[in-house]
Amino acid sequence: MSVVIELNDVWYSYEKEKLVLQGVSLQLKQGEFVAIIGGNGSGKTTLAKHCNGLYKPTQGTVKVNGLDTKTMSVAQLSRIVAYCYQNPDHQIFHSTIKAEVAFGPKNMGWPPEKIEQAVAEALAAVGLSDKGDEEPHFSSKGTRQKIAVASILAMKPQVIVLDEPTTGLDYRGMQEMMELVRHLHAEGHTIIVITHDMRLVAEYAQRVIVMHKGKLLCDGDPVHVFSQTQVLAAAQVEAPAIYRFGKAAGIDDPIPLTLTAMKKQVLGEGI
């Protein structure tokens, strides 16, 4: 698998004294499904914004497909790495959902037929094909979140970064959103999700990155990461309930992280 994004000793600060990223090195490969977790203010959003050139490191390099982000504009990079904001209301401004989704492709200077097709595909992917002419501001939060995803999908990016895509959604909305993300992953997109919901991490991610105070504390598959009790405690996160149950009930390693895996394990144990 080829490396899509490579961070090499990245440092960053908004203001002089306060270092928000402190020497982060990291490689993200084509087709991965990565979750970034960590406490409030640990630098997750800042890290993610380095991947599409919105922020350029004060020290170190970020390479996307082998090219240094310092040499490219955000507009160029956003064709490769798309970033979906935490709050969809920060980006929606057109009067119809279709126009909103077409905004990105239009900026790319694509011909009209290509734009139309991209918009249709993106709307189909998020399940809003029949709502193209509605006013986006009047739809529910879940739908607005999907519009935001569609509007970056239409630019056909290789990598999709989603910053807390399920915050404020109810359980159904959250499941729909995550199934959409899983579907995008299956279609070949590289996915980076920032989230505080460990159930989702356990359920969907292949790789977990733990951030703490601007440093990368731990990087590995979910089973490995969630077994690092001390690291998690330091990073202000905690393992999903199923894992904690397994630990408390004395279930053998590796302790499963999801309901289905736990069920299998317990029944397999055949008490």
Binding site: G39, S140, L169, H196, Q236, A241, F245, I271
Partner: protein
């Protein structure tokens, strides 16, 4: 506990001026001193609307059509989802003093009350910091303290942890637990995080399309997996696992009801294993 209710909602209907249909319909409920009540429901079910009604902000602050009545024997403090926006003061101290200033308290009384409240939330050293510089969990704790500063009888919280990291959320819930334990505070909290509510609340309310569907003690409430599923409510994994294990005969249904925390389920599980091993 069954004394006079602190708050009673009698047959409330509420229709927002701009709303397509009633946001609340035929709501009856009574809140007794010391109760901790969780409110869950799918998106747009009317959770926020219900809490605003209990706090008196509906109908006072909104346009719309209101039927019924809310009787209250005391004051309410309310905390909203996004802590940043609800801060009025520029320092923690200003924030806590705001409601007391509006009530015209003297400096000595304000000072005394502020010290108490800061002590309660465990942020003594933060009095002169800007609330915007704190971590997510600390911000929300300040917001809670600010709602508590005029000593309300009922504390109402609307999704207080939805933007926090797991530890921040835990901080908030452990503060709420302290309030419940030490101050016997009456608390109403809405959330999508049912796992946290299950561990914390005495009583749960399920609201859907503006109507109360379930209003029961927590254990009974979470036993109704079918109803919760039907309304798209996340049944905590612990409870799902418990039901699965019971079905498979790994556990036998407990007389105490469904387990509400990881620890409870682990205990059941270990007991069942002991029984098994003993009988072998």
């Amino acid at each position: 506990m069954k004394t006079e209710p602190l708050l009673r909602v009698n047959g409330v209907y509420w229709h927002y001026e701009e709303g397509a249909q009633s946001a609340l319909a035929d709501i009856h409920l009574a809140l007794y001193p010391g109760e901790v009540v969780g409110v869950v429901g799918p998106a747009a079910a009317g959770k926020t609307t219900l809490l605003l009604t209990m706090s008196g902000l509906i109908p006072a602050n909104y346009g719309g059509h209101f039927v019924g009545s809310v009787e209250s024997n005391g004051e309410q403090g309310i905390v909203f989802q996004d802590p940043e926006t609800q801060f009025i003061g520029l320092t923690v101290e200003e924030e806590l003093a705001f409601s007391l200033e509006n009530a015209g308290w003297s400096d000595e009384r304000i000072e005394k009350r502020m010290a108490e409240v800061l002590d309660l939330i465990g942020l003594n050293s933060f009095a002169n910091r800007s609330p915007l510089e704190l971590s997510g969990g600390e911000k929300q704790r300040v917001a809670i303290a600010s709602a508590l500063s005029h000593s309300p009888q009922v504390l109402i919280l609307d999704e207080p942890t939805s933007e926090l990291d797991p530890v921040g959320a835990r901080e908030v819930f452990s503060l709420l637990s302290r309030l419940k334990r030490e101050k016997e505070m009456t608390i109403v909290v809405s959330s999508h995080a049912t796992e946290e509510l299950a561990a914390f609340c005495d009583r749960m309310i399920l609201i859907a399309e503006g109507k109360i569907v379930l209003d029961q003690p927590t254990r009974q409430f979470f036993d109704q997996v079918d109803v919760l599923d039907e309304h798209g409510i996340l049944v905590p994994d612990v409870i799902r696992l418990y039901h699965m294990l019971c079905q498979q005969g790994v556990l036998s249904a407990s007389t105490a009801g469904v387990p509400l925390t990881v620890e409870e389920l682990a205990l059941y599980y270990k007991e069942a294993r002991l029984v098994r091993e003993g009988s072998l």
